[in-house]
Symmetry: C2
Subunit: 313 residues, 2 copies
């Protein structure tokens, strides 16, 4: 078991693919499994190019039902069938995602024999639920159609075990020490000993927040508060603020404002319109960094390792 956690951008474009940016998809690669966020057309090819083992993808979170975020789903599902997948797969997203699958399945006449589960969210039923090592919360963002943002929060890890302190308290090596490490209070020599007496401060969990296709909104702030990473809609540059408003998207500046207000550690600009060339993109990044210096503009296939934060004092 490792403590590794990383994300890999599989497609960072918006709406229409460009030679530089594919359609939206993002992999969260954790110990033992992989989560996808959105699955635009071509995602299965990008998974192949990235060298990600598709059978390890256990859950696909869908932000909303616009084509650039879901048209890669049927092909991924059928290819997994043809590659003899047996691992279960869960699809989580707005109401309609199951019907999308079922309509396409019926017309194009394919069978899925691996366990495939759908969970359709409603405003009243949007988590928290568990997915891999994460507790996941979803909230409705501000887009033309129902669009969910997701926060993936890893649990804290117990702090370092202080062997010297344990010896002083007369706790014998063995199962009693394990119980303390698992957070249980034990009884030794007529005294209760709580985990806090022998464990250092816990290692905080990491958190990834995925908010695509939205105007700046309060629910993004709620989801993103103090997150390790915020991946935020940044379809347009500041010059196109009007267009962003009209199409229910954000500019890089607005994304940076959300990151600053939510006090996240790092911001990744995402869902960049193909109308922007490399110069525009550099400007988008500079504009955002003026507000939130820890802003990045990843390209397709970029991988980001997320370090566990330092122990709290």
């Amino acid at each position: 078991m490792t403590d590794e956690l990383k994300i890999q951008f599989l497609g960072t474009g918006a709406a229409v693919p460009s030679p530089r940016r594919g359609l939206p998809s993002l992999a969260i690669i954790h110990d033992g499994g992989i989560i996808l966020c959105d699955i635009g057309e071509g995602t299965q090819m990008n998974i192949l190019s990235a060298g990600i083992p598709p059978s390890k993808i256990h859950t696909i979170f869908i932000s909303h039902l616009h084509g650039d975020h879901i048209f890669g789903l049927p092909g991924f599902l059928t290819s997994q069938q043809m590659m003899d997948r047996s691992n279960p797969l869960t699809i989580i997203g707005p109401a309609g995602i199951r019907r999308f699958y079922e309509s396409v399945r019926e017309i194009s006449d394919f069978k899925i024999t691996y366990p495939l589960y759908f969970k359709e969210l409603t405003e009243n039923e949007a988590g928290p639920f568990l997915s891999g090592p994460f507790q996941v919360t979803a909230k409705v963002l501000h887009h033309r159609s129902t669009c969910y943002g997701y926060r993936f929060s890893e649990a804290a890890k117990p702090g370092r075990f202080n062997v010297e302190k344990a010896e002083q308290l007369g706790i014998p090596a063995g199962p009693l020490r394990s119980e303390l490490q698992q957070g249980k209070t034990i009884h030794v020599n007529g005294k209760n000993i709580s985990p806090g007496e022998v464990l250092g401060p816990p290692f905080p969990g990491r958190s990834i927040v995925f908010c695509t296709d939205t105007l700046p909104c309060e629910n993004t702030l709620k989801l993103a508060k103090n997150a390790s990473l915020l991946i935020h809609d940044s379809t347009f540059s500041k010059a196109l603020t009007e267009r962003a408003l009209k199409t229910f998207h954000s500019t890089s500046v607005q994304a940076a404002e959300m990151a600053a207000r939510a006090a996240v550690e790092k911001l990744f600009l995402w869902h960049v319109s193909s109308r922007h060339d490399e110069n525009d993109e550099q400007e988008m990044l500079n504009e955002a960094r003026g507000i939130f210096p820890e802003t990045f503009l990843p390209g397709d296939f970029d991988t980001i390792e997320i370090q566990r934060p330092e122990q709290q004092a």
Copy 2:
């Protein structure tokens, strides 16, 4: 107006994409327009990579409704909308292709405002009809689901105008000569003169036959008779003949047998399973050439110019 006619392979794989072969699609590039045959996932990206102007695609012919042949359709249609297409687009394929479009459109909530037409084929209504410079005939092949093969037949071009002969016959330069070139009989100096008296033998039209996802069958022979080019299912090598039979596909050897029996000029092996590596493919090609020497195994993005045949004697 040029006499150029070429095909470009946009995806030559089968079922599951591989790093070397994308999902099925083929462009027929004629003077002034482009036809697509099938549109697997990723075709819009491959069109971009190939540098083909998507707005010039006027018709998409669909062989059948299996996902690897149609999952690129919704993304292509929506991207064309976002790129402000105004040219009409026609989709021709088996019954169900319109419902595929409509279901996906309704769920993912997109609008198409350019003229979009669907023509669903039936066994009794499968052409001939006109598409660009071609007369197109479709026939049902032998697959698990209803799958159409298509023949694209270009009209013959009038033969060379023999000016000397025209002078001898006293035909004045001008509209009368044009009428002869258009195939009309004219009246000069009290005599009827037919086009054959002053025109050389006609330049025969070229013909492209597209037969994917099928066992060898009689309808392929009917479509392919004397064609310039046959693009034929070649999912498996000879060693997997049993598997080809079970899955209603062909081996390269079977494709070559069809090419030989139909007396085509050239055979292009197509829809190659990702289970075959480069060595297997070389073997598939060698096996086919043993039967039909003018066999080729194109890769993605390969382009084939089709020369107009020599004038018939």
